[in-house]
């Protein structure tokens, strides 16, 4: 009953609707940045339909036979120049400027070139992983960040653990699955880093705004003296928190819903949902993505959404705590930004010699900076297997206690 009233107060804030619409527009724009690759990516869909995404001997033989036919066709249309081409790309490279082929042939050539990439990269995967030495990665990172002593030991230690996981990953064959060739398309980066980070920051803004505005509402409208002396009294703060939670969930639903709907309608993931996220094709950097667990794309997406939701509610809790004591939305906003800034900057300026630098990573503020590396051993400072779990559990406890404390303190607070 009261919650409904408090929800109305939130719903009647034009700024929230304005921001929501603005963010939806922004995310749609970001989502559409890779549409140039759409036709190219469609080739993968056919491949997966015909051969499955699992790269094994049988599949490679079938794909190989098919590929031979395609190469034969390439040589057929190229017969006039007397050379033999082993791959479509060779022909394309030779005639890059002349374009002696008709429209249909060109289109087919490009298509075959994509197939070539998938076929030839698939052939090279085993060799790549044989050569992949995580000790080198560790050294590179240690050098890059100028780490010393205990910190350097930790990185080496963690990469050793990651190496064991890599062995397991190879044994499972998680790395050998067809997926968007992301060294080119960078779809993982687009979805989880660009869109993901945008979503997180947009939602954070909305969550802080909603929570602070509704919690401070009575003080900012000078109605506190009346509202908090009614029968319900200071318990009203709880109703406000509940209203903020409901409104927040609605905002998440709308923003993530619209963004992901746009994204997945634009890029066709059919047949790819169950591909392990650690597959070689997903790699965008020299070091491929290595999750600590065997997770499919869909599972990874699920964890992403789950973490985003949990983290937003952590932000809500922190905002609520600040609001109870500050009673002013601008002030709360300002303080929240300072805390967030400190959370991100402290690890940057901390000395890279001790393990302290790793402890500073265990905050939601650092965690939201690299959503595309969650549950993975790819972030040099957040490489720990339990990084996400520990961060979430610890901060849920901390934030929960802060909320409980502020509600209790509020009951005995002098309201001048």
């Amino acid at each position: 009953m009261i919650i409904k009233h408090e929800l109305w107060k939130i719903a009647k804030m034009p700024i929230i609707w304005f921001l929501l619409l603005f963010f939806i527009g922004l995310n749609v724009l970001i989502s559409l940045t890779n549409t140039d690759f759409k036709e190219d990516m469609a080739v993968l869909k056919d491949l997966v339909r015909n051969y499955g995404h699992d790269i094994n001997v049988e599949m490679m033989t079938d794909l190989g036979d098919d590929y031979e036919e395609k190469v034969a066709w390439v040589n057929h249309i190229a017969k006039h120049d007397g050379k033999t081409y082993e791959h479509p790309s060779e022909l394309l490279d030779t005639y890059i400027s002349e374009k002696p082929f008709n429209e249909d042939e060109m289109q087919k050539l490009w298509q075959y070139r994509s197939i070539e990439t998938y076929y030839r990269v698939s052939q090279d995967i085993d060799e790549f992983y044989q050569k992949l030495d995580l000790k080198d990665s560790a050294s590179a990172i240690i050098g890059m960040y100028g780490m010393k002593d205990a910190a350097a030991d930790t990185v080496r230690d963690q990469f050793q653990k990651l190496d064991r996981r890599l062995e397991e990953l190879i044994e499972n064959g998680e790395h050998k699955h067809l997926f968007f060739h992301n060294k080119v398309y960078e779809m993982h980066e687009l979805l989880f880093e660009k869109i993901g980070r945008a979503l997180i920051f947009e939602l954070m803004l909305l969550f802080v705004l909603i929570t602070a505005a509704v919690t401070n509402y009575e003080f900012e409208n000078k109605t506190a003296a009346v509202s908090y002396t009614a029968k319900r009294g200071r318990k009203l703060a709880l109703a406000k928190l509940a209203a903020a939670s409901i409104a927040g969930f609605f905002v998440i639903l709308v923003l993530i819903g619209v963004t992901f709907t746009t994204y997945f309608l634009t890029y066709d993931y059919s047949g790819l949902w169950n591909v392990p996220i650690s597959t070689y094709f997903n790699a965008e950097m020299p070091l491929p993505y290595i999750t600590w667990w065997n997770l499919s794309f869909l599972e990874y997406l699920g964890f992403f959404v789950l973490f985003v939701i949990i983290i937003q509610y952590l932000f809500m809790g922190i905002t609520f705590f600040l609001s109870i004591f500050m009673k002013n939305t601008y002030l709360v906003f300002f303080c929240f930004l300072i805390i967030a800034g400190a959370g991100v900057l402290l690890p940057e300026i901390a000395p890279h010699g001790s393990n302290f630098i790793f402890y500073l990573q265990y905050t939601p503020y650092v965690m939201v900076m690299n959503p595309h590396e969650w549950l993975m051993g790819n972030g040099p400072f957040t490489i720990y297997k339990t990084y996400e779990a520990v961060t979430i559990v610890v901060w849920t406890l901390v934030t929960g206690s802060l909320c409980a404390l502020s509600i209790r303190r509020f009951k005995r607070m002098q309201l001048h």
Partner: protein, 295 residues
């Protein structure tokens, strides 16, 4: 019965109220004191917005913080600065407050219609509050305080901003309500409480100076209030000699109302009956908080 027992309130090092002990039974209590005397502070403690630094406030023998909801359920309060949601209609705002007071929706609706009529706002129930005049807002505040038919009605300067007609209507209303409840209203306007309060509470130097009926309080000055005419030329020296509490000019003469301990020395002095205002001015004549303020 509402009891304040040895209640003190400090803001940091500053003591606003000290050792206040008061008892409230059904009836109207006028809390009469100048600006900054501590009226609002006392009221805020009575409505659980502030908590005493020392002492306790009991309702029917139980501490009001222990009673919690049970206490606030019988409480109606109009703060000195009554805030409201600008974009709400009075009806909607009162519906919200009714919900906070735990009232059932239909009961609330009925009560709101009734109250808005009582305070003369029945024609503007659907107008947004931001379009209301100060006096109209004040009347919404009064209606709001009475929503839950409170056993304890506490009003902090309820008549500020009301025109004489509304003041009169308000006084009449309180008289009807006072039958079976405690009404405490603070004011520094003597005429507001003069005709309706059963008891007057005066605070001076952070303490309760008087808690008595108007008649008894006025007795303090019995035989000490006079009126006399003085030539304008002599007005200045008269003022210096006596404590004047009222002056009126009539052609070349001034009529003074003044206080003196001396027995009528001058046959021209007319002994008059002291009023509450006389007492107020007498008591707070050397009060620093009064300096510079018009009463």
């Amino acid at each position: 019965m509402l009891v304040m027992n040895q209640v003190s309130k400090k803001f940091g090092n500053f003591t606003a109220l000290k050792d206040v002990t008061l008892e409230f039974d059904n009836g109207i209590y006028g809390l009469l004191a100048p600006n900054g005397a501590g009226k609002t502070t006392m009221i805020k403690m009575l409505v659980t917005l502030l908590f005493p630094t020392n002492g306790e406030i009991l309702y029917d023998g139980t501490d009001i913080t222990t009673l919690d909801e049970e206490y606030r359920n019988v409480l109606g309060y109009l703060p000195q600065e009554f805030g409201y949601y600008k974009n709400y209609t009075p009806e909607k705002y009162l519906m919200y407050l009714a919900a906070l007071k735990g009232m059932e929706k239909n009961t609330a609706k009925q009560k709101i219609t009734e109250l808005l009529k009582l305070v003369g706002l029945e024609n503007v129930t659907n107008k947004k509050l931001k379009k209301f005049s100060g006096g109209m807002i004040q009347r919404v505040g009064i209606a709001q305080a009475m929503l839950n038919d409170p056993k304890i009605l506490i009003l902090d300067e309820p008549t500020s901003g009301l025109d004489p007609k509304e003041r009169a209507r308000f006084r009449k209303l309180l008289n009807v309500l006072a039958q079976d409840r405690i009404i405490i209203l603070s004011t520094h306007i003597v005429s507001d409480v003069e005709s309706i309060a059963n008891q007057i509470i005066m605070i001076k130097d952070k303490k309760v100076l008087y808690k008595d009926s108007i008649t008894n309080i006025c007795e303090i000055l019995e035989g000490k209030i006079y009126e006399t005419e003085v030539e304008i030329a002599n007005a200045e020296s008269f003022r210096a000699k006596y404590f004047s509490i009222g002056e009126r000019q009539e052609r070349d003469q001034m009529t003074f109302r003044f206080i003196t301990e001396e027995k009528a020395i001058d046959p021209a002095w007319r002994n008059v009956r002291p009023s509450l205002e006389d007492v107020f001015l007498y008591i707070y004549q050397d009060d620093a908080t009064l300096a510079g303020s018009t009463v």
